[in-house]
C-alpha cells in the first residue's frame, strides 16, 4: 500500500516538474523544474528496488548535467521569453501529434502487455538488482561496452572543449 | 593457331587480359610505357582470340553448354554463376572486338593529348567489359558486364570528347542506364519465374535453362518489352536513337570506333541471344511492330544523314540506318535473315569503324569535321581517298565487298519470312539506294571539285601508322565480301538451333495456354547436322 502511495506522489511531482519545465518562460526556472523531476524519478527508481541506479541518477543527472545546464544558462544570460509565442499551424499540429502519440502509447501499454513473460517475485528481483550484481555484470558481460563508454566520454570532452573554445587566431 | 586453342581457361584469359593490362598500365610512369602496354595487351588478346576461333568447332556441340566453357558458382544459394564459353553466335563478334582493340589503340596514338594513362586504361577496361558481354552465358553476368561497359565509355566521351562532351556523355549513360535497369527487372522476374518452374524454386540465370523455359503468355509480353527496350536503346532502334549522334560527334576517334564498331552490337546481340529465344510468342506477335521501327530507322536514318553538315553525325545516322537492317533480319526468324544479320553486325563494325578512323584522321589534320570546310582534297591526299572510297562502297553494300553479303542475306531472308509483310522488305531495299545517295553525297562534297579552301592544299597524306591501321580493315572488307562462307557456317548451326527451339517452344506455350500451372520446358534443339554430345 505504501508503494502505491509513494509511486503516485513521485509520479505527480515528476509530471508537474516536466510541465513546469515546458511552460516556464525563464530558462533558469525550467532548469530547476527539470531538477525536481529528476529527483522524483530517482525516488521512483528506489521504489523499484534499483537503489544503485537511483543514486547514479541523482549523482550524474541532477548533480553533473543540470549543473552544467545552469552554468551554460548563466554564461549566456539568456533573457526570458517576453510573451507566450503566437500559435501557428505548426505548433498546433505538433501539439495534436504529441497527444496522438501519447494516446497510442497508452493504448499499447494497456492492450498489448499480455505478450510479456511472467513477472518474477519481488523479493528475488530486489536481490538481483543489488549493486554487487550490477558491478559483476558490468565488468564481466559488458566489459567491452564499459571501455567504449570510456572512450565516448573522452571524445565528448575533447569535442566540447574544441567547440566551445574561441577560434585560434 | 590450334596450339593456342589448347590453352586452359582461354575464354577467361581473353576476357580479363585487357583488364590486367589496364592494371599494369596504371603502374607505369611514362606515357609511352602506357601506350605500348595497351597495344601489346590488345595484340596478345587478339592472338588468343584466334585460338578461340580455331578451338570452336561448329559441327559438334554439347546439349547444355557452349564450347571452351568455364562455369563457377558466383552467388551461393542461387543458380547464378560465372559461366562463359563460345558458341557460333558470339564467336564472330568476339573476333571483331579483339580485332578493333589494337586498331583503336593505334588510332589514338597521336590523337589523345591529355591524361594519356587514363585514356588507355579506360580503353582496356572497356575491352574487358565488351568481351565479357559477348562471352557470358549467364544472364546476371551478362548484365554486370553490360553495365561495366558504360562507365569507361562515359569517361572517354566525357573527358576526351569535343565541345559539349559532358552533355553527350551524360545523355549516353542515362539513356542506356534507364534501359538496362528495366532489363534488370526483367532479369529478376524471369529468373525467379524460371527458378520456381523448372529449377526447384532456386533463382536461375543460366542461359540454357532460360532458353528451355516456356514463359506463360501473360508474362511473356511484359518481359519481352522489358528486354526489348534495353536493347532497342542500345541498337539504337528508331525512336531511341537520339543519343547516338551526340555521343559520336563528341566522342574522340577511338571512342567513336569502339562505340560504333562494338557497343551498338551488344544491343542487336542481346536481341538474338536473349529476347527472341526467351520469348518467342511475343517476338512473333510484335515482329511487325519491330519491322516498322526497323524500316523507319533505315529510311529516316538515311534521309536525316543526307541533311547533315558534320561528317561524323552523317555516319552516326548511317549507323542507325544500317542497324535497322540488322533488326529487320533478326525479326524475320528465317535462317538466311538471321545469319545475314549476324554477319552484318561484323560488317558494320568494320566499315563504320573504318569510316570513323578516316574522319578522325581528317579531324587530326584540319580540326574540323564540317564537310563545307573541305572540297577537292582527292588531289592532295590520294591514298586517303582510296581508303575512303573503298570503305564508302563497302558500307553502301557494293557486291564484292562485305556490306553486300549481309544486306543481301537479310533482305532475301526477310522476303521469304512469314513474320511480316513483303512491303517492309521493299521499303527496306530502298535503303540500298538511299545509302548510296548520302554516302556519295559526302564523298562528292569532301573529295571532288576544285580546292576551295587554301588549307586543303597542304594536308599531309596518310603516314605509315595510319596506313597500317587501314590495311587490315580494307583487306577484311574484300575478304568478307568475296569469301564469307567459312565465317557464315561458324554461326549456322547455333542460329538454326535457336530458331527451331524458339519455334517449338512457341507452339508448346500456346498449347499449354489453357492450364494455368502447366510448366513448359523445351530443351535446346540442335539441327541434325550437329553431333550433340551430352
Amino acid at each position: 500500500m505504501l508503494e502505491t502511495f509513494l509511486f503516485f506522489l513521485f509520479a505527480v511531482v515528476a509530471v508537474v516538474g516536466a510541465l513546469g519545465m515546458l511552460i516556464a518562460r525563464n530558462p533558469v526556472s525550467s532548469a530547476l523544474c527539470m531538477i525536481m523531476t529528476l529527483f522524483a524519478i530517482a525516488c521512483l527508481y528506489v521504489t523499484l528496488d534499483a537503489a544503485f541506479i537511483g543514486v547514479i541518477q541523482v549523482l550524474i543527472y541532477a548533480g553533473a548535467i543540470m549543473v552544467l545546464f545552469l552554468f551554460v544558462i548563466m554564461l549566456l544570460n539568456l533573457e526570458s521569453v517576453p510573451r507566450l509565442e503566437q500559435l501557428d499551424w505548426r505548433k498546433v499540429a505538433a501539439f495534436v501529434l504529441g497527444i496522438a502519440v501519447l494516446a497510442e502509447l497508452l493504448a499499447v501499454i494497456s492492450l498489448r502487455l499480455d505478450v510479456l513473460p511472467e513477472a518474477v517475485a519481488s523479493s528475488e528481483a530486489a536481490e538481483a538488482a543489488s549493486a554487487t550484481n550490477i558491478g559483476i555484470a558490468l565488468l564481466t558481460e559488458h566489459a567491452f561496452s564499459l571501455e567504449m563508454i570510456g572512450v565516448l566520454l573522452l571524445a565528448a570532452t575533447i569535442g566540447a572543449v574544441m567547440l566551445a573554445k574561441k577560434r585560434f587566431v | 593457331m590450334n596450339a593456342l586453342a589448347s590453352i586452359p581457361h582461354l575464354v577467361s584469359l581473353v576476357i580479363f587480359l585487357p583488364a590486367a593490362g589496364a592494371l599494369v598500365a596504371l603502374l607505369l610512369p611514362s606515357d609511352n610505357g602506357v601506350k605500348w602496354t595497351a597495344l601489346v595487351t590488345m595484340v596478345v588478346t587478339f592472338l588468343l582470340s584466334l585460338g578461340l576461333y580455331a578451338g570452336f568447332d561448329p559441327a559438334v556441340s554439347t546439349a547444355e553448354a557452349p564450347q571452351l566453357m568455364a562455369k563457377v558458382n558466383w552467388f551461393p544459394g542461387v543458380d547464378v554463376s560465372y559461366f562463359v564459353g563460345v558458341d557460333g553466335l558470339n564467336l564472330l563478334l568476339v573476333m571483331l572486338t579483339t580485332l578493333l582493340g589494337p586498331i583503336v589503340i593505334l588510332s589514338s596514338w597521336t590523337y589523345i593529348g591529355k591524361q594519356i594513362k587514363g585514356y588507355y586504361t579506360l580503353m582496356l577496361l572497356l575491352q574487358t567489359g565488351v568481351l565479357g558481354v559477348f562471352l557470358s552465358f549467364d544472364l546476371v553476368l551478362f548484365y554486370v558486364f553490360f553495365e561495366i561497359t558504360l562507365i569507361p565509355m562515359y569517361f572517354i566521351i566525357g573527358i576526351w570528347g569535343g565541345e559539349n562532351r559532358v552533355y553527350a556523355a551524360i545523355k549516353f549513360v542515362l539513356y542506356t542506364l534507364v534501359g538496362s535497369l528495366l532489363m534488370l527487372v526483367g532479369v529478376l522476374w524471369l529468373g525467379f519465374a524460371a527458378g520456381d518452374a523448372i529449377n526447384g524454386g532456386v533463382f536461375t540465370a543460366d542461359w540454357y535453362q532460360l532458353v528451355s523455359f516456356g514463359v506463360p503468355l501473360g508474362a511473356q509480353g511484359w518481359l519481352f518489352f522489358l528486354f526489348l527496350l534495353a536493347f532497342a536503346i542500345k541498337v539504337p532502334l528508331f525512336p531511341f536513337h537520339t543519343w547516338l549522334p551526340d555521343a559520336h560527334v563528341q566522342a574522340p576517334t577511338g571512342g567513336s570506333v569502339v562505340l560504333a564498331g562494338v557497343l551498338l552490337k551488344m544491343g542487336t546481340y542481346g536481341l538474338i541471344r536473349f529476347t527472341i529465344p526467351f520469348f518467342p510468342n511475343a517476338a512473333h506477335q510484335f515482329a511487325p511492330l519491330l519491322a516498322v521501327l526497323a524500316v523507319v530507322g533505315i529510311i529516316y536514318g538515311a534521309l536525316v544523314a543526307f541533311a547533315q553538315e558534320d561528317a561524323k553525325k552523317l555516319i552516326a545516322y548511317s549507323s542507325v540506318s544500317h542497324l535497322g537492317f540488322v533488326v529487320l533480319g533478326l525479326f524475320a526468324f528465317t535462317t538466311e535473315a538471321v545469319q545475314g544479320a549476324m554477319f552484318q553486325m561484323v560488317n558494320h563494325g568494320i566499315s563504320t569503324g573504318a569510316l570513323f578512323l578516316l574522319i578522325g584522321m581528317l579531324y587530326e589534320r584540319r580540326h574540323t569535321r564540317n564537310m563545307a570546310d573541305f572540297g577537292g582534297i582527292a588531289k592532295t591526299v590520294p591514298v586517303f581517298t582510296f581508303f575512303m572510297m573503298l570503305t564508302v562502297f563497302a558500307s553502301a553494300g557494293l557486291p564484292g565487298l562485305n556490306g553486300f553479303v549481309g544486306e543481301f542475306l537479310i533482305l532475301i531472308g526477310s522476303w521469304k519470312s512469314s513474320a511480316f509483310s513483303v512491303v517492309f522488305v521493299i521499303l527496306a531495299t530502298t535503303g540500298v539506294i538511299l545509302s548510296a545517295v548520302y554516302l556519295l553525297w559526302m564523298v562528292y562534297r569532301t573529295f571532288f571539285g576544285e580546292i576551295t579552301h587554301e588549307e586543303n592544299r597542304t594536308i599531309k597524306d596518310l603516314n605509315f601508322r595510319e596506313i597500317g591501321l587501314m590495311v587490315p580493315l580494307a583487306a577484311l572488307m574484300v575478304w568478307l565480301g568475296l569469301g564469307p562462307a567459312p565465317f557464315l557456317d561458324k554461326s549456322e548451326a547455333v542460329v538454326q538451333a535457336i530458331l527451331n527451339t524458339a519455334e517449338a517452344k512457341a507452339r508448346a506455350v500456346e498449347a499449354a495456354a489453357g492450364q494455368p500451372d502447366a510448366i513448359v520446358q523445351v530443351p535446346l534443339r540442335w539441327p541434325d547436322t550437329v553431333a550433340v554430345t551430352e
Binding site: 516536466a18 532548469a31 527508481y45 534499483a50 547514479i56 550524474i60 502487455l113 550490477i134 567547440l163 | -
Partner: protein, 101 residues
C-alpha cells in the same frame, strides 16, 4: 498482473510525450535540450521498470550506459549551443537554417 508495470510505463509515456512536446513547441535551444534529457529519463524509467519486473539486471546496466551517453551528449550539445550563440547572437532554433537543402 503487471499492474505495477503498467503504471510505471504509463508515467514514462507521459514524461516522454512531454519531452517531445518540449522539443516541438519551444524555440529556445536550451529548453529543447532539456526536453531531450527528459525523454531519455522517461526511457530509463521504463527500462528500470522492466528490469525490476523480470529480475534481469541488464536493464539497469543499459540505463547506466544511457546515462553516460546522455552526459557525453549534454557536454557536446551545450558546446555547440555556446559556439552557436557566439556567432549568431541567438539560440532560437527557428532562425538557424544551416541545414537548408
Amino acid at each position: 498482473m503487471h499492474l505495477a508495470l503498467n503504471w510505471y510505463l504509463s508515467l514514462s509515456a507521459i514524461l516522454f510525450v512531454i519531452g517531445v512536446l518540449g522539443v516541438l513547441l519551444r524555440r529556445n535551444a536550451i529548453v529543447i535540450f532539456l526536453s531531450i534529457e527528459l525523454m531519455l529519463n522517461a526511457a530509463n524509467l521504463a527500462l528500470v521498470a522492466f528490469s525490476q519486473t523480470f529480475g534481469d539486471v541488464n536493464g539497469q546496466i543499459l540505463v547506466f550506459f544511457v546515462m553516460s551517453v546522455a552526459a557525453a551528449e549534454a557536454a557536446v550539445g551545450l558546446a555547440i549551443i555556446i559556439a552557436l550563440f557566439r556567432n549568431r547572437e541567438t539560440v532560437n532554433v527557428s532562425e538557424i537554417n544551416l541545414f537548408r537543402g
